[in-house]
Symmetry: C4
Subunit: 110 residues, 4 copies
């Protein structure tokens, strides 16, 4: 029986598949980020919103509205509960997570 060749990093048989297609934006997506805890995906779009998605389930969690033009840059702050977005409208917005007990300010829900 021939000896198995030594494993060379990722050339062992693995593959990648598309786990989720996150649809809902009405225009291009040019910025994506993943929170440090690996749970949330953020996407910035030409539709002037940022959307937050569950990485595990692909579910749309929230649509962050307010920018008046394209969202071109996004970044999570360390800690995963703050997101920063930069827009063609010349502003930067800081978005923060609030737990359910603190109030559900409806306009930001998906």
């Amino acid at each position: 029986m021939a000896p198995r060749p030594p494993s060379q990093g990722l050339s062992t048989p693995s593959t990648w598949h598309c786990q989720h297609i996150l649809g809902g934006h009405r225009s291009w997506v040019r910025a994506v980020a993943v929170s440090a805890d690996g749970q949330i995906i953020a996407s910035g779009s030409g539709d002037r919103t940022v959307k937050l998605w569950s990485l595990a389930t692909g579910e749309l969690l929230h649509t962050l509205s307010g920018h008046t033009s394209w969202v071109r840059a996004i970044a999570f702050a360390p800690g995963s509960d703050t997101l920063v977005s930069g827009s063609w409208d010349g502003t930067v917005r800081v978005w923060q997570e609030t737990d359910g007990a603190d109030g559900l300010d409806g306009p930001y829900l998906a």
Copy 2:
């Protein structure tokens, strides 16, 4: 009384709200970054400046002037006290924090 379903990551009732709108740039923002200590937001703009903001308060801390064209790329160095910016003017600039005792070179103050 029905048992509560198990928590599934972020599908528990949480929401996100806009904590701060950082206004002041006179043109688009196409680059944002957050320092490793989570205290500073940096934004690069078509107005040829980089602005630094307090993530906690939304206050404009400094406006970094010098680039002669659009600022298209920014990155914090590990450690949070050095920022690098790349511009349409063909240069890269390295910005560093100085504590108050070392001199307040006025042009970089907001």
Copy 3:
């Protein structure tokens, strides 16, 4: 014999060379990312695909197809086995690694 001057960071004689040229995309590459374990390079292209490459060998590991327009943004999730891509087609796709035993869904192989 003159004493050797103290080493000053990277001004000691080092150099950089091109280890691999990763060819295969049929259009521009405007997004690159490296997985946290340093093994995989991901590239997003105007040819509507994401390609995954072995950083060590330069080998093309997989071509991730499905986006119907340019891929403009990519990010690895913490942990290196999930990749997120954003496209001009308005969608975000979540790609995950499957080990060989779980099935080789051919369309995503390079």
Copy 4:
């Protein structure tokens, strides 16, 4: 004597100044990155090169040539001795540091 107000993050008197202007590229800079050890700045330019600079001294360390069109994306791999660049020419290039003893392949020196 009035008590000093409590420190509020970065609103204590600090300032930022431009430590280095890194000139040398012959076209725009749209991608910058800093190595994990904080020593090297990499910049990708419309002049088809990547340049590496000392963050501490501002010195140009190397010019990485080879791409045949604009360099639009760069990323350091974890570990700081490997850099990945993506270009309008459709290729991704992997650049690695070699210590001086292993050979000085001149074309990549600045």
